[in-house]
């Protein structure tokens, strides 16, 4: 090979690289949808947790965003205020005094995207289908019977007093579908339903948007429904939800390749400027410690004084600092966003001397316990691994040896759900924004049992729970749940730690961004300047 040829090789490589990047640049890089107002396309980046667009089967965060845009529910919430259900497809509703019967009257102008009217039969079919499918959202209507009273009236009768039902009905999983269309595509209100494939191809709802394309791994595209009759007329002709991890989301929104990023952590939004808006606040997820009350699992964690030592030994302020700006200390198991939450000034504080005294009173010499957690799990961007390490070091100052037992979520969750963890670090997100969702923490209930806290372990607390479950009046309900949490904090096996921060970053041209703990963001409510 001649000298001149060898020299030309790096030059050729450079030319190749330049050509490649030129091709890349010519493909419209850096701003394919940089002008949302011009083409009315809105691009939202989020890390997908998405399985299906079938409202009867979905119950994942991304699924809630998608389905909220496609289907109307009988009742809904206005913006981020989840303390008061407002009319949706139902123009009005009435709950009986015993909290068992809910009567809803349909709005008379509602139409599906094919132009047909929304009827009581569609409502009955949709809700019965959710129950019959026995999927993730089926529990929302546990013990509820759905009947059509007349052409525009539906009655929901619950086995037990169910004051939470008006707060449950806004859940997008209870969206109303076009019964006739769905039945024609294999749908039925039985477990034999075969309509999911249809729902993942097209939509059959009366919502502000229609489904244009759906891929659980890459992107979902919604287009405006011209037949929509509801109050919240969408601004954008097309909404694109893309599956993008947080670090990339940040660059995309900064560059204008997307207009909204949903999953940035407190650290990632620090110092964001350049015409970007950051909406930060406390998430509705409550991270808590669990101490197993089953002596066969751990005699230490079942010891009330030991629990007290842990509760007093945690440095909550330092944990909150770890979660960053926007996070708050959880005063109780009910998050600050839901009626019934304990006021912030009732939150626990660190008392190192008290913790050491309680540990001494427990009679346990040199206690050693294992802390189980999902090492690959992050809650609103906060890694449980990091949090567990802090808990370990803080309890060491008390004199408690904590052995960390990290495991993949799928493995650790089985131990948690089986009530096998000595100590556990987990979180609870609201299934629906009503304080009754948190009765699971009581003895003998779902999460109570995971802490080895069997029914009858605290009869007074159980009694309070029964009263709270039936309370219709907001004020009475708030007081009851505050009493429940006060007692839980004093003698229960759970130690609420923090509500991490959640952040929504958007370009300045997008308006109307409001975080909602049920569906995160309502794409139809977003406007453009």
């Amino acid at each position: 090979m001649s000298r001149s040829r060898t020299r030309s090789c790096p030059a050729a490589l450079s030319l190749t690289a330049v050509a490649a990047l030129t091709l890349s640049a010519c493909s419209g890089g850096g701003g394919a949808s940089g002008s949302p107002a011009a083409d009315r396309t809105l691009v939202i980046d989020t890390s997908f947790n998405l399985k299906t667009a079938d409202p009867g089967r979905e119950f994942e965060p991304t699924g809630q965003i998608v389905v909220k845009g496609l289907y109307e529910t009988l009742l809904t919430f206005k913006g981020g205020d989840v303390t008061k259900p407002v009319p949706g497809l139902a123009s009005s509703y009435e709950q009986s005094e015993d909290g068992r019967k809910l009567t809803l009257r349909l709005r008379d102008d509602a139409k599906f995207s094919d132009g047909s009217a929304v009827t009581a039969d569609d409502v009955v079919f949709s809700l019965k289908r959710v129950i019959a499918l026995k999927g993730n959202p089926s529990f929302l209507l546990d013990g509820v019977k759905v009947t059509k009273t007349d052409a525009s009236t539906i009655t929901l009768v619950s086995e037990k007093p169910n004051p939470a039902l008006p707060f449950i009905l806004p859940n997008p999983a209870l969206g109303i579908v076009n019964a006739q269309t769905v039945k024609a595509h294999g749908g039925s209100a039985t477990a034999a339903d075969k309509a999911e494939k249809y729902f993942n191809t097209t939509s059959a709802g009366s919502g502000p948007y229609k489904l244009a394309s759906f891929n659980t791994n890459s992107q979902v595209v919604l287009t405006k429904n011209p037949k929509y009759t509801g109050p919240q007329r969408p601004t954008y002709d097309k909404v694109v939800l893309r599956n993008v991890q947080a670090p990339t989301q940040k660059l995309n929104v900064q560059r204008g390749d997307s207009q909204i990023a949903l999953d940035l952590t407190a650290d990632q939004v620090k110092g964001l400027g350049g015409g970007l808006n950051v909406d930060s606040g406390a998430s509705s997820n409550v991270i808590f410690l669990l101490l197993n009350q089953n002596t066969e699992v751990s005699s230490a964690t079942a010891n009330a004084k030991f629990v007290e030592a842990v509760r007093k030994g945690i440095d909550y302020k330092r944990l909150r600092a770890l979660a960053g700006s926007g996070s708050v200390q959880a005063a109780g198991v009910i998050p600050s966003t839901i009626l019934g939450a304990l006021p912030a000034d009732r939150a626990a504080g660190r008392d190192l001397a008290g913790a050491k005294a309680a540990l001494k009173a427990s009679g346990i010499d040199k206690p050693s316990v294992t802390l189980g957690y999902a090492s690959d799990l992050t809650v609103d961007g906060l890694s449980l691994q990091t949090l567990a390490e802090r808990v370990q070091s803080q309890l060491k100052e008390v004199g408690i040896t904590v052995t960390l037992a990290p495991a993949p979520t799928t493995t650790e969750m089985e131990k948690y759900r089986g009530g096998k963890e000595q100590m556990g670090l987990w979180y609870w997100g609201p299934d629906y924004p009503h304080s009754s969702d948190y009765l699971v923490f009581l003895p003998g209930n779902l999460v109570g049992l995971r802490a080895g806290w069997k029914a009858g372990a605290d009869p007074a607390l159980t009694d309070l729970g029964d009263k709270a479950a039936a309370a219709l009046d907001d004020d009475a309900r708030r007081k009851l749940y505050e009493r429940i949490q006060t007692r839980l904090n004093a003698s229960g096996p759970f130690i609420p730690l923090i509500q991490p921060s959640r952040n929504t970053v958007s370009v300045s041209s997008v308006t109307g961004i409001t975080y909602n703990p049920v569906w995160t963001i309502d794409v139809a409510s977003l406007g453009a300047e």
Partner: protein, 359 residues
Amino acid sequence: MSPRWAPSRRVSGGGRLLARHPLARFLLRRTAVAVLLAFGVTLVTFVLTNVVPGDPAAANLGQRAIGDPAVVDQFRKQHGLDQPLPAQYVTYLGHLFQGDLGESQQTHQPVLTDLATAVPATLELAGAAIAVSLVIGVALGVVAALRRDRLTDQLLRVVSLLGVSVPTFWLALLAFYVFFYQLGVAPGSGRLAPGMAPPPYVTGLHTIDAALAGQWPVFWSAAGHLVLPALVLTAYTVGLLTRFTRSAVLDVLGQDYVRAARAKGLPGRTVLLQYVLRAALVPVVTIAGLAFGALLSGTVLVESIFAWPGLGAYAYRSATTLDLPAVMGVGLVVGIVYLTVNLAVDVLYGVIDPRVRVQ
């Protein structure tokens, strides 16, 4: 690696046809072995995914749903998890014979449908990366060998060492930051511009499908989105191929027949292309094959940063959620890819090196 498709000398009866076509016989035998190995892959994957602690129902059902025995039973029944493990495997094989890989518990779609999207996405990325790597890596390797121990060689050694040492995910983040965010010369994440409809499905490779359909805006978008992640992936493979090519060329340069060719007065270009490079390509092809297989199954981090919906991302999601049918499907595809690549490499030996054909 020695080729195994040399003709047999003992031939009789019906074997004559195959004996006259040793390549056909070789391919037939290797295909039969590959099918057996593929079943082995399914068995190993099935056993491994089932010995992992964790319950697929717990991994897939929500907090509330898992507390309802009726919902759990429905899930187990729907996914065949209520059957004993041997029965599950036999059922899986039965469905596999009919081209059914089962339904993903995560996407609620047939695994085959998921793979039909994910595999071409990765194939497009890995194919572009390996093609570029072969051109650049072999060229640099040859240059380095010919300029042994000079400055060019030293520089290329550093560059190739960097290529194989730099973590790919870090490079991906850096490249995305510099070329997309800072310079704005690369498009954003994904395979196409946001909201752009993919071309009609033929191969699943957006560039080819768009060209076939004559959708040139889609083609340019797909090609543009391919450039940066593909270049990031080439960093490692270029480094690898440069090092192996250099070493292989140096080995051949010292051979008697090369010295004889030079002594005969043959032009340097002829010696390089027909005597040196051809012989040196055998180990290079081996490495390229392995690198291609690794690219197909190991691009998860690059796919994550560029939001590329490929096999790596699908495999990761399936594994972390104990989505057994999806994990089995991915295992099978990766197994088949490696078997196919190995077979292709063996065939290429014969194409490149005439000595292999006459053995």
